[in-house]
């Protein structure tokens, strides 16, 4: 038996919603009827012999019951709504009906109102994203690291795309004519949408740990005791917090896999945070040498 449902992953920008309507109508003609529309993907059911015309609008609806009834009165069947306030409706296609029967906005004012509603939300999002971008920017100056940079770039991309959207949506007539955003732009949009989490895999790949060792006294000197190994999977700035206490100076060393010293410190009392280490890919180990009782604590992130 042939599959009679399918999911299409496709994203449309708000100013391109008429293209989505066009696509839904085309699919309906081919026998694929929308079951549930969504931001990233929509579900369809195979149902031949019927054909629908779709409509889609953005609105922060206050009274869903009255909203659906207003549409039903004119023959629109409610399909579903997305979490971000887009609502899908359909009406059986009848070639005898005039084109206006399939319009839901019949004056410029109401079309402009829909754009204004979207713009209001987009501007709030831009302000929030800008706040987040500023905080990432400050962190980049303070502690430059790759995941932070990725987040910052994605946030700037999101802000740029939303600003572009606002400019397009401010002119409803232009949005009607601008039917085709390129596939490249759609791809960028998807990447940007997930921008805030794009840094997550990079974060997960980082060595990030804390370790400590202590002894009140030692029988014989500890020499080059390598007690922790870690792997750096991508070159970046890594930050070390180091705290050492001992009666006689003790030595802390980070070796790379070639056995070269990457960082070393010999002190009897030492405490410093955020020591910047520029580490290439490779395996590293922490080592310490000490003659007396000691305490050592390290964090790496």
């Amino acid at each position: 038996m042939a599959k009679n449902t399918k999911t299409i992953w496709k994203m449309y920008s708000a100013w391109n919603y008429e293209k989505e309507i066009e696509d839904l109508n085309k699919l309906s003609e081919q026998g694929w009827q929308l079951v549930k529309g969504g931001l990233l993907h929509s579900k369809f059911k195979k149902e031949s012999g019927v054909r629908f015309c779709y409509q889609l609008e953005y609105r922060d609806v206050e009274d869903m019951g009255r909203y659906i009834e207003t549409f039903r009165e004119q023959g629109w069947e409610y399909v579903n709504s997305t979490f971000n306030h887009w609502h899908y409706f359909r009406k059986a296609w009848d070639p005898a009906l005039p084109e206006e029967a399939y319009e839901i906005f019949t004056d410029r004012e109401s079309l402009r109102e829909m754009s204004k509603g979207w713009i209001r939300v987009a501007l709030i999002a831009i302000v929030l994203l800008a706040g987040f971008a500023v905080s990432r920017g400050i962190r980049m100056i303070d502690k430059p690291q790759l995941p932070t940079l990725v987040q910052l770039l994605a946030l700037l991309l999101e802000i740029g795309l939303l600003l572009r959207g606002v400019l397009i949506m401010r002119n409803p007539d232009a949005s009607r004519n601008r039917r085709h955003d390129s596939a490249v732009l759609t791809a960028i949009l998807v990447v940007a949408l997930f921008g805030a989490v794009a840094a997550l895999p990079l974060t997960l790949l980082r060595p990030s740990f804390s370790t400590e060792q202590r002894a009140s006294a030692v029988d014989e000197p500890i020499v080059d005791n390598r007690w922790v190994d870690f792997t750096v999977k991508y070159p970046d700035n890594y930050y070390l917090d180091l705290e050492m206490q001992a009666e006689k100076p003790m030595t802390f060393i980070i070796y790379n896999e070639a056995g070269e010293t990457v960082y070393t410190r010999t002190e009897s009392s030492f405490r410093e945070e955020d020591i910047k280490l520029k580490l290439p890919v490779g395996t590293y180990s922490f080592s310490m040498s000490c003659e007396t009782g000691f305490e050592i604590r390290c964090n790496l992130n």
């Binding site: 609008e57 009255r66 207003t70 009165e73 906005f105 019949t106 109401s110």
Partner: protein, 103 residues
């Protein structure tokens, strides 16, 4: 007195239809088409937006039908403020028309 903004065609026809008595969205739509000889249609999106805004302005209110067979159906009813807004618009339109005839 503050000069009121001209009404959009949809707002005007909705108020005009309701001046004859409370009715539902579909009734407004049909009456509008009839009055305008099919020239003006009010789509669902426009209708919902216009009725929402006019309820916020206090020009119309929602009531439930008590006609047999139509119970609990939503109807819109013109308020005194709505009647006043419509009257102001008609006065404005009359003046505009009179001005046109003078020229």
């Amino acid at each position: 007195m503050k000069r009121s903004e001209p009404l959009s065609e949809s707002y005007y026809y909705i108020l005009l239809c309701l001046a004859k008595g409370a009715t539902h969205g579909y009734g407004i739509m049909q009456m509008t088409q009839k009055l305008s000889d099919g020239d003006v249609t009010i789509g669902s999106g426009t209708m919902y937006g216009a009725t929402s805004n006019m309820m916020k302005k206090g020009w119309i209110r929602e009531i439930l039908s008590d006609e047999p067979g139509q119970e609990r159906r939503r109807l819109y009813q013109l308020t005194d403020a709505g009647r006043e807004a419509l009257r102001a618009e008609i006065t404005r339109l009359r003046r505009m028309l009179a001005n046109a005839e003078e020229v």
